[in-house]
Structures are given as C-alpha cells and as structure tokens.
Amino acid sequence: MNDEWLADPVEGEEHVGLDGWPAVAEADLGEVPLAIELRRFTRKAARTRAGASLGSLLGGVYYAVIVAGTGVLLGLGIAQQLRVSLPPPPATADFSLSIPTLVAVILLALAGGLLSLAGRLGPVGAGGAEAAWWLSLPVDRRALLRPAALRLPMTAGAVFAVLVGLLDGGLLADNQGHLLRGAISGALAGVLIVVGAGLAQTAGASRRATAVAGDLLMLAALVGAVVLAATGRSIDRLPAPGWVAVGVLALVLVGLAVLMDRRLGRIRERGLRESGSVASQAAGAVVSMDSRELGRALADGAVRPTRRWVSRLRTARGAASALVTADLVVLRRSVRHLVQLAVTASVVVLVTLLPQLATEAGVLAAVMIAGYLAASATAEGARRAEMAPILDCLLPLAPTTVRRLRMAVPAVVMLMWSFVVFVALGRWAGDLPGWLAMGVASTPAWAAATVRAAYRPAPDWQKPLVATPMGALPTGVASVLARGPDVVVLGMLPLWIALVLRSVSPTLILAQVVTSVVAVLVASSTSTKSFMERAMDAQEADRASREGAGR
C-alpha cells in the first residue's frame, strides 16, 4: 500500500497548519459578510413570512401584559395575606425562624434554583436550524450567539425582580423605596447568576458542574434553615441595599456581561448544540404545558456522560417482577429523584417544627405539595414508558395490570417517605400510632396519583376556550393537567380533613383506606377520557341504539 495513506508522518513532510491549503471553488471567494448581516437576513425572512398581523401581535402583547400583571397582583395579595395570618415567633420556642430569615432562606434557594436551571440550559446554546446552518459559517460567532446569550439573563432578571418584589413587599412589607431597590437588586442578582453560569460555560465548565453547584446551593438553603432554627438564630431585618450598592452591582454586572460577550466564541460547537437542544426541548415543553417533557429535558441536561453498569435484574422472575425491577433500577440510578425525596420529607418536617408555619393550613399545604413532588420522583419508570409505549407492550401483561404494577415502586418508596413525615405529623398533632396508620392508608393514593399523572394523554387543544380575566383558558389542557393532582386532592380527602382538624380517628383512617382503593382503581384505568366524558359517550351510544331500534 502507498505510504501516503499511512498514519505515521512521512519523513521530510512539513507541518503546514491551517494556512496555505487550496480550497475547491476558492477562485469564487469574495469578502465574508459580518455575522450580524446573516442574522438580519434570517430575521427579515422570518418577519416577511410570519403571517401575523399587527393586530394579532398587539393582542398577544395585551394578553401577556394582563396575565403577568394579574399574576403579580394576585401573588402580592397572597403574600400580604400570609404575612398578616402568620403568628409572631414565640418568645420561648426552641425551634423557630423569623420572617426575614425565612425570606433570606427562600432567596438563597431561588438563587440555587436559577443557577441549576442556567447550568442545565447552557445557558448559551444554538439548537436546531441555528446549529445546522449558522455554526459552520466562517464568521465571528459572537454576533450570532448574542441574542441567545441575552435571552436567559434578561428573563431571569425580570422573574427575579418580581419574586424579590413579592417577598419584599408582601412578607416584609417595607417602604416603597426599599421595595424598588429590592426589586432592582433582585433583577441584577438574577442576571448576575446567569451571566456567571455563562462565564463558567465559556471557561469550559461542564453544564453538569454548574447545575450541581446550583442544586447544592438549594440544599445549603434548606440545611441553613434547619441549623438556624435549631440554634435559635434569626435576623430581625433583611439589610436593604443602598442605591450606591445597587449602582456598584450594576457596574460589576456590565463588566461581567462584556467579558462573557467577548468569550462567547470560545464555546465549542458540541456544547452549543447540546445546550441548544435542551433549551429547545424545554421551551417546547413549556409551550405545550407538558411537565413530563420539561422534567426530561432538564434532567437529561445535566446527566453525567458515562456508561451505565449493566443491571442483572436478579429479582426479575417473570413479567410482573421484571416490570417492577425495571422501575426500581430507574429510580436507583436517578440520584436527583432520591435527593428530591429527601428534600421534600425534610421540608414537611421543618414546617411541622417551625411554630410560625406549623398551622393547620401550613402543614396541609406542605404535605400536599411536598407529597406530590415526592411521589412524582418515584414514577420516572412510568413516565419513560408513557413516552415509549413499546416498553409496556413488550411484556405479556394487560394494560390495567401494567398500570397497577407501575404503582408498586412508588407505593413502597412513599411508604418509607410517609414514615418520616407522619412521625413528624404525630409529634405535631399527638397520637403517633394513629398518624402512622393514616400514613400507611394514604400511601396507595400517592402512588395512584403519580402513575395517573405519568400516563396522562397529550393536551387536547381542540376543546373550547373559556374567557377569564387572565386571558383564554384552554379547557382541554386544564383537564389533562389535572390528571394526577385530582387524585391527590380527592383521593386523600380524609387525610386533608384530619390535618385541618389536627386529629386522626379510626373513621378517617377507614375512609382513607376506601378512597385509596378508589384512587388505585381510577389510576389503573387506561381510558384517556374523564368520567363525565365517558358518561356522555355512553348516553350518546344508548340514544343512538334506541333510535336504531325504533326504526
């Protein structure tokens, strides 16, 4: 074989570098345009063919402003109501947190959440067409990436301004000057966190590392709250940043943003493509209101790129046990979901221990929300199976049986979760054995709710819209999104009554057993229609058959 095909360098060969290579069609080369011209070309074509009139654009802006404004005002009202209804910290309690401390903890957790989200989304990326058609061009990539690099920091800034404003104006109720400074500082902090994540990306840090740093910050907020509550340390007032501090923060931010912009060209194409792909998937999930898809996008955005060990599935003895074993393996491999279980249990325990939050309403809300989030962590197997239905079809099991078997792992895990939580509830309300019995009785309902949510069908956008002050509400979407939470609310009604009464009785436990059985039956159903729709269909079919018989 000729030497020129061998991999070893040929003696005397020069290291030529990227210069000096003739190119095919090189003779036709002129000046390469600026990246901004190419972006304008793409944008102009998009605008020309968008097909949206000025009226529909204004209508969209109107709805967006109304929805955002109503949401902010509602949030502010709830926060102010919460401040009034929360009892003052008891002077002698061993375990308590002041409201400013609680706000500080929430702010720290929000910062961690934002950092985690920024890491999972990139934050700078180029997906789909941009990756395929822009990234290969020999132009300065910074101008192509700039809009994508600005999108997330700007959104984060706006959201953080609102959140800090709500916490400040609602829970702390300071004067308006403080509120404005707080909101501006919140906006700057939100932008700063995302820009920081962007700088880490330009320096070559993995998205996973940034996401884990954010997760740890959230965990630190929770641990910090426990430590502060246990040691009795609290802050009486959150320091309000002065205008000088706000100005300095803004200057630092501008400097960092310029630095990030200069380094955008350092991000490798594979990183841009991965981030862009995750961001597109997440944006699609948000637009179609698919929380399962959103969870998948964000979870896959920070997965470690290593090969998995091969599970021998020793406990799989037949079709049923194979399915349960597979669900168990999926859960065991997802550290994020195990952390989610631990954190949600800790939140409920914390709420029952803090005198200010341990009201009937506070504990009920904590158990309901944290319980549903914990149950969601246990049903990844079912969610994956819903995405790829072939997984359920592979085993010789009836669809109803598959649904019931998918509840096995969630039920066992939620039983363990309930043990921790209901011990805390027993301490909070007294009668530990009674609450433990209630915990056991409610476990199947948690499993049923999460499996029902995992198998919910795609939203039906064809159904009529209902006009609300916040814009049009698509009823087909709302009814689909309610699948799962509806079982939590209705299937655990005896538990909610017990929490409101702060007392558990044999009657309530028995009622919970009955509603849990009903919840399991409802979640086992493979029908995608609601009870009402099925009743109407049956009525329609009955009428049609009677008319047919009459003829």
């Binding site: 991999a7 060969e13 990227l18 210069d19 095919v24 080369l29 074509a45 990539r141």
Partner: protein, 229 residues
C-alpha cells in the same frame, strides 16, 4: 506527494470515556477519497464527528489540515465542509435561501448563480421557493448535500450521503465526488453503499470494535456486500 489533509493515528473515539470502536489510523491526502465502512453502530459517524470537532478524541492523535482539530477557528470552518444528518431548517427560509445563506456566509461571489446551478444539479429547482417543511425526506437530504457544495472547501465530510437518495441521484452524487477529488479536494465519508465505495473511494477503513484495518476500495466494497442486510 500530496499533502495529508486528515491524519489519524490510533485515534480512539467514544462517549463517557468508553470507546465505541478499535483505534483508527489513516491519512487522507488532498485529491483523494477515504470511506469509513462497517456495521450499524460500529462508530463510523463517531469518527467523523471527531474529525469535524464535534467530539473530543479519547486517545491517539488527530490533525486536520496539519493542525489539531478546533472548529472554533474561522479558518477551520472555512475549509471543512460537513454534511451530517442534521434535519433542521429555518422554518421561514426557502430552499434557495438556505443555500444562499450558506454561500453568502462563506463569501462566495455570484452566490445566486451558484445556488441556481446546485438546485438544478440536485433536482430542487422546482422547490427553490418552497419552505423545507413542504419537502419530502429525500428532498431535504438533497438540500443538505447541496449545502455542502455551495461553499468553498478543502475537506468534504459526509455521513452516509446515500441515505434517502434514489439510484439516479446516488449516481450523480458519485460523479460529483469524483469531480471533487479531481479539483484537489479531499473527501471523507461514512457509507453502507458498496457501489459508492467502489466508484469514489481510493481507500477505506473498516470500522469495527476488534480492529479497524485500512483496506483497498474493492475489498471494502466486497465486505459491505457480504454484510447481513
């Protein structure tokens, strides 16, 4: 002697530290074509991704145009044209505008005339003003291939270019690739098409997990033909 455009020495590629195939060694000189052949999942596309900078090699050495691979370099992007299976398009740009964007983005003079020429060659003239969503899968593939030729290049990297093409278009593609070699360009492509290997490739690497030997084009074509369907 022709200058080596791509040089891979015991190149190891994979994901998460686990190699997907045996180390690959070859040199692709200018004016020649090298085919990567092998079974589905053997690692052909992964090797190509390393060559164009979309994947960091796990081991060995790899140089393209005499320098380590770095797609962040403007010069690298100006000289390496790649056609992968990126089925993504700007929803508001027509077929012709996608090609025009690529040609103008690379500073090609007479971009409009060049685009029309390629539309004709790839049988897309009738669809020049169509949006990509209106195209069939095969037509979209032809658009991607045309985009690979509408710009200057020293190295052309193609991942299974025969996919979704009819026999006439495969034959036209083979002629195009032969012309590419004659113009001094280097062609590196992964394929399952024995005929394309026989007519275009000068050598082939049989990518496998036990060993990845460098073969003659005829021998590689015979191996492809012997693979189970």
């Amino acid at each position: 002697m022709a200058k080596p455009v791509v040089r891979a020495n015991k190149l190891l590629v994979g994901y998460g530290g686990a190699p997907v195939c045996a180390p690959v060694s070859f040199t692709l000189p200018e004016g020649r074509a090298l085919a990567l052949v092998g079974a589905n999942g053997a690692g052909k596309s992964t090797v190509l991704r390393a060559v164009i900078g979309l994947l960091e090699p796990s081991g060995g050495s790899l140089t393209v145009l005499g320098a380590p691979v770095d797609e962040r370099s403007v010069q690298f992007r100006a000289k390496v044209s790649s056609v992968l299976d990126d089925d993504a398009y700007f929803p508001a740009l027509t077929v012709a505008e996608h090609l025009y964007l690529t040609a103008r983005g690379h500073g090609m003079l007479g971009a409009h005339a060049l685009v029309e020429e390629l539309l004709e060659e790839f049988g897309l003239t009738e669809h020049a003003r169509s949006l990509p969503t209106a195209l069939s899968s095969g037509q979209r593939r032809r658009l991607l291939l045309a985009a690979g030729f509408v710009r200057p290049r020293t190295l052309l990297v193609l991942d299974e270019p025969e996919q979704r093409l009819d026999l006439r278009m495969r034959s036209a593609l083979a002629e195009r690739l032969i012309a590419e070699k004659e113009a001094g360009g280097a062609v590196l492509f992964a394929t399952h098409d024995a005929e394309l290997v026989r007519t275009v490739a000068d050598r082939a690497v049989y990518v496998d997990d036990s060993s990845s030997p460098l073969l003659g084009a005829a021998e590689a074509a015979t191996r492809i033909a012997a693979e189970p369907a």
